[in-house]
Amino acid sequence: MHNNKFILLALGVIALYVGVPFAIDISGRIDFFYTLTSVALLSIASAGVWLTFYIGRINIGQGAYALAGGYVSAILITQAGMSFWLSLPIAGLFCAVLSVFIGLPILRLRGVYFAMVTLVLTEVMRLVALALPVTQGAKGITSMPLPGELSVFGITLIPDFATLENPKIAFYWMAITIMIIAYAVLWRIVNSRLGHLCRSLQQNEELSASIGVNTAYLRVLAYSISSFFGGIAGASFVSIAQSIYPSSFQVTDSVNFMLNCFLGGLGFVFGPMLGTLILYFGWDLLFTTGQYQLLIYSTLLIMLMLALPNGVLSLFEKKKVGS
């Protein structure tokens, strides 16, 4: 059984790396590379949101960390001349540290209070980006270089993106690599002692505190991991767009990250990935409907919610119970 699962997973990964580019080549829809790259990166941010759901908090503030991560990376690259590959983890760590300071007070809030305050946080980050001199206000930071070469001891691990003839596929591979790592980390967290403790927080915070779980430490930890994902996603997104503005990640994006998790299902590690795929791809496919795009999209969203209020992956759960 365990072996079967492993083979299935390996097949899935191969399909992602080789199968999808092949299929796109055949169909000739080169624009899907950009769509799928975006899906992969956005699903990393959604994975972070999912982790805060896992400790029983509704996080509508991931856009704030994506924006912060994007700006940190952009500033390091353009003003300090740092390599993108180095700025990526720094952006993540910056967000993690930032989220500790923000999280300490606000994680005391629960339920809708936490949801509302994180929503406000997204707006705060946008205003900060507008007000600070280093972020260059509404003009944003533009014309950033493509990710350069990454080499260890003279061996080139990743070639310079600017020299590649097809940077689109390079970005796609980069995005899914980061996504796979992020979800592997997430899966590992959920299936560890930490994950068990997080579940205890989700169910009853007082009870778990009373049996000696350090709840305050745990929720800040989970929140900072979540923000780390947000920062990474933001920084990689900026490298693809080669620009960032205060409006790059807004309240709508924060809400979308949360919707991805809900739609995929909160009880499943791969829920946010599926949710992002459905929502973003659905939105993209509806582009041809022109002015009715938003109407159809929102109607579908509402219908889906009426039919499956517990997420798309709950379909499989029901089958299990039936058999």
Binding site: M116, V120, E123, M258, F262, S298, I302, N310
Partner: protein, 289 residues
């Protein structure tokens, strides 16, 4: 200084009305209505249609806004929120639904009313001028007092009518209220309709002064969330307090901080965070509403 206070009161009266509707819906059903801002914009457009296109008096427009939004609210509750709440395992799932409804209303407003900024002619001309200490156009004064009158009527309704008492009972304890014979389904629907109607009324009031456009919905929702966080979610007095506090802070901030650039809201947000760290449930909220 007097001018700042008057401006703050005027803003606060409108904000309090928006927050009242949101907090009513939240207290009854534990639903965070993301679509509240869109409902407010819809109300503005209904008034605009009635007043500017059908050439009817302003008061008819206001009533039409309230009625249309009440119907929308009732339908949304009966056919969308109720079944989802019944079926979903976590009550947060309603957030997705609410966000979907917000998108849906945005789309409908865009298709029906277009993306242009719309306004109606002033209801009264002239400016009130008290020795250049307080200067206020008459129409703003009328709108401000109308808002306060609606707030007062709402409080009286909640305090003394049967429906109001039933809704307060539901907000306090759903199970106990059911045992006392309160029809939960009906009063949830009435509450939702009332909350939506309040949003529509504010939209109708504001269309005479600032006009209305499609993009106003989202920011209005965020402001409403801030107000009920300040006052405490699900508490009527808290919503009113939150509305007036936010209105006053905005009015003071725009005057005092104007030399530092556009940072009023940044300062308000930052102080809100600090305030919530000290008092998570807001001014008058119950802990963990």
């Amino acid at each position: 200084m007097e001018q700042i206070i008057v401006n703050g009161l005027y803003l606060g009266a409108q904000y309090a009305l928006i927050a009242l509707g949101l907090t009513l819906i939240f207290s009854l059903m534990n639903v965070l209505n993301f679509a509240h801002g869109q409902m407010y914009v819809l109300g503005g457009f209904v008034t605009y249609t009635v007043v500017a296109q059908f050439q009817l008096p302003f008061i008819v427009g206001l009533v039409a806004s309230a009625l249309v939004l009440a119907v929308v609210g009732a339908l949304v509750e009966k056919f969308l929120f109720r079944p989802v709440i019944k079926k979903s395992k976590r009550e947060e799932s309603t957030m997705l639904l609410a966000a979907g409804i917000a998108f849906f209303l945005d789309a409908v407003i865009l298709l029906v009313f277009g993306e242009k900024q719309r306004g109606v002619p002033k209801i009264i001309d002239g400016v009130f001028n008290w020795d250049f200490i307080v200067i206020m156009p008459y129409d703003r004064i009328v709108i401000g007092f109308t808002a306060i009158a609606i707030i007062a009527a709402f409080i009286l309704f909640m305090q003394y009518s049967t429906a109001g008492r039933a809704m307060r009972a539901l907000a306090q304890d759903k199970v106990a209220a059911t045992l006392m014979g309160v029809d939960v389904a009906m009063y949830s629907m009435i509450g939702f309709a009332l909350g939506a109607a309040l949003a529509g009324l504010v939209g109708g009031l504001l269309v005479t002064i600032t006009g209305v456009n499609l993009g106003m919905g989202g920011p209005a929702s965020i402001k409403a969330f801030m107000m009920i966080m300040i006052g405490g979610a699900g508490v009527i007095s808290g919503a009113i307090a939150g509305g007036f506090i936010l209105g006053m802070m905005e009015s003071v901030g725009l005057t005092v901080l104007s030399e530092y650039g556009d940072i009023t809201y940044l300062v308000i947000f930052a102080s809100l965070m600090i305030f919530l760290a000290l008092r998570p449930q807001g001014l008058m909220g119950k802990p963990w509403g």
